[in-house]
């Protein structure tokens, strides 16, 4: 690496860095600045200090969105991880052991392939799919069945207290398979002798799960929690497409991304939308820092 190193290094770095700074770093930096102005796109932006942030504090839609992120942040990881862990355990160590070799249940490979598939689909496509599944009359998959049995149709997306959970259900539907595969990889790296030894001591499957698998999988769980938490702070595509008029009914499913989009590209309130973006950024950052701190514990070496 002697002669001509610097021309090569610069030549290789120039295009990626230029592109990245133009479309990523520069907009991020500007966002903080725009959030301090009352810019509406036409006249020159005027500096208003923290006015936008003060207005955020009185904005009902903003607080609703923050509240929904709180619900998503608890429900999405908890439900997804619980289901995925259960399935991953079944698929990897649920079956009988023969000759010390841990086996999953019959058909484990098939299940893993099927469960993972929704991950390949775009969220927007899945949202349209579930719009049809949730339809409030005979043409909906669920209500068509209910009404065949003479039951009242369930208004999944129209009832304010049900709409957010209907959306969370779709997010869980998509995510579970990914985490089954992720946890399976983690479980596969746990040495079989540990299970064998525990079983020889008479540990049941339930004990195996809680006393062996779970502690040894802690690092993977932490990663899963952070991933799902970040997903809980986004949720734009699903809310924009699936919910009634973008975050409805009456703001019952709105999220910050939805409010940012609406304020910026419908109302042209660029300064205000940027302030929401900054708030979202600090929320995400706080979450990531808190998760890493709270879930920190000594990882078990094996």
């Amino acid at each position: 690496m002697r002669h001509g190193k610097y021309p090569f290094v610069i030549g290789f770095l120039f295009a990626p860095v230029a592109l990245y700074v133009t479309f990523v770093i520069w907009p991020y930096a500007q966002a903080f600045q725009i959030s301090m102005t009352n810019w509406r796109g036409l006249s020159a932006p005027q500096w208003v200090g923290f006015d936008n942030y003060r207005r955020l504090l009185d904005d009902g839609a903003f607080w609703k969105a923050v509240q929904h992120h709180g619900v998503l942040l608890l429900a999405l990881p908890l439900i997804t991880i619980a289901i995925a862990l259960f399935f991953a355990f079944l698929l990897n160590v649920g079956g009988k052991s023969s000759g010390g070799q841990r086996q999953g249940v019959w058909g484990a490979k098939f299940y893993r392939v099927v469960f993972f598939f929704p991950q390949v689909l775009a969220v927007a496509i899945i949202a349209v799919l579930f719009q049809m599944v949730y339809r409030p009359n005979e043409s909906g998959l669920i209500n068509g069945v209910l009404m065949k049995f003479g039951l009242e149709p369930i208004l999944f997306l129209v009832k304010p207290n049900l709409a957010l959970w209907s959306i969370i259900a779709v997010l869980v539907w998509q995510a579970v398979g990914f985490y089954v595969v992720l946890f399976s990889a983690g479980m596969a790296s746990i040495p079989g002798e540990i299970y064998e030894a525990a079983e020889m001591d008479g540990a049941s499957k339930v004990t195996l799960f809680f006393r062996v698998t779970l502690p040894l999988l802690w690092d993977t769980l932490q990663v899963a929690w952070v991933y799902l938490g970040i997903a809980a702070f986004d949720a734009f595509a699903i809310v924009a497409v699936l919910s009634v008029d973008g975050g409805g009914p009456d703001g019952a499913t709105t999220v910050l991304a939805m409010e940012i989009y609406r304020n910026a590209f419908v109302y042209s309130k660029y300064g205000y939308a940027s302030a929401m973006g900054v708030a979202l950024f600090f929320l995400t950052l706080t979450f990531a820092a808190l998760t890493l701190r709270l879930t920190k514990r000594e990882s078990v070496e094996y």
Binding site: M1, K5, G11, F12, P16, V17, L19, Y20, T22, F23, V24, I25, W26, Y28, Q30, A31, L90, G94, V105, G107, F116, F117, V120, L121, A122, V123, A124, I125, V128, L129, M132, N137, E138, G144, F178, L182, A185, I194, A197, A198, E199, D201, G202, K205, R211, V212, L216, F236, A237, A240, V241, I260, Y261, F265, A273, V278, L280, F281, T284, V300
Partner: protein, 308 residues
């Protein structure tokens, strides 16, 4: 080796009162029946979830062949005949064909560009010592911590000022820029693991820096490149918010996610549900084919970000 030594420390496996730490005594079910009970319960749960995953998709495929009255009569009846005209209507009149092609063009260009620029940057950052190396690396990696929505407004104006609004070029460049943090982060780690002996041998043979990269290092990094490429293809194919902002006024340039969402809104006005089901089928079916062919690589690629 003594199997006891591989047991986790007591903190992870404490003896619990009532826990059957002693060999199975009287009154305890034999391990065989417990296994059988657990396995059958597990089977039911797994099968139920498989049904929950498969049925909505299968139902969409079936409904794509129905007419409106069949769709409203019962979700479980089969279509009376295979109405292929639903598909031709979706493909031409609802422009699904156009949207699909747009997605293919945009994602293939942006993934190619991401891989090229990402691996160039990652390679230099991973294997060359120079002033500012760490700074550039952290500049890229810091992008992982920022939500795209923070940048949405300024990004719109940057693209607009460059005259790239409502163009595929703009979308490709933006996709590429936002894919760089993960790509650089992952590939830099990968390039670091490659042995330096081969590179040194190449240098001694008079191989230039760029030739070394394209002809020696890239082939060696193939497994890592494939993983990241799959990760990027799936991620960029699924993009919805960026094209929504960057292509809003050019309907003929829309990508598939945008198009399908729009068709679903219009289907409500026109009551063309079978057309919407056909459009959804056209969007989902190719993904099933691709997934069936590359299932192993896709699973590895998508989880590669989490398992280091």
């Amino acid at each position: 080796m003594n199997p006891q030594s591989t047991l986790p420390p007591p903190a992870a496996l404490p003896p619990k009162t009532g826990d059957p730490s002693a060999p199975a005594g009287p009154g305890r079910k034999g391990p065989r029946s417990e296994v059988r009970f657990f396995a059958s319960l597990g089977h039911v749960a797994l099968a139920v979830w498989a049904v929950i995953v498969i049925v909505p998709i299968l139902w969409t495929f079936l409904a794509a062949f129905k007419n409106t009255s069949e769709i409203f009569s019962s979700p479980w009846t089969l279509p009376a005949e295979l109405r292929w005209e639903n598909f031709s209507r979706a493909w031409t009149k609802a422009h699904v064909g156009r949207y699909f092609l747009n997605s293919v063009i945009v994602v293939s260009c942006s993934t190619f560009l991401t891989m090229l620029l990402g691996s160039m940057a990652a390679y230099v950052l991973a294997r060359y010592k120079f002033w500012g190396n760490r700074a550039v690396y952290f500049l890229f990696v810091s992008g992982l911590a920022f939500p795209v929505f923070l940048a949405l407004v300024p990004l719109f104006f940057v693209v607009k000022n460059l005259g790239l609004l409502d163009t595929h070029t703009g979308v490709v460049l933006v996709y590429t820029a936002y894919s760089l943090p993960f790509t650089v982060f992952f590939l830099a780690a990968f390039f670091k693991t490659l042995p330096s002996s081969v590179a040194e041998a190449g240098m001694i043979d008079g191989c230039g820096h760029s030739r070394l990269f394209f002809q020696v290092m890239m082939p060696m990094a193939k497994p890592g490149l494939i993983s990241v490429a799959i990760f990027n293809i799936i991620g960029q194919w699924a993009q919805y918010q960026l094209p929504l902002v960057l292509l809003s006024n050019a309907k003929d340039k829309w990508v598939l996610t945008q198009g399908i969402a729009d068709i679903s809104v219009n289907a409500g006005y026109e009551a063309d549900w079978s057309g919407l089901f056909a459009a959804l089928t056209i969007a989902i079916l190719p993904m099933i084919l691709v997934y069936a062919l590359f299932q192993r690589q896709i699973q590895a690629g998508l989880t590669s970000g989490a398992v280091k």
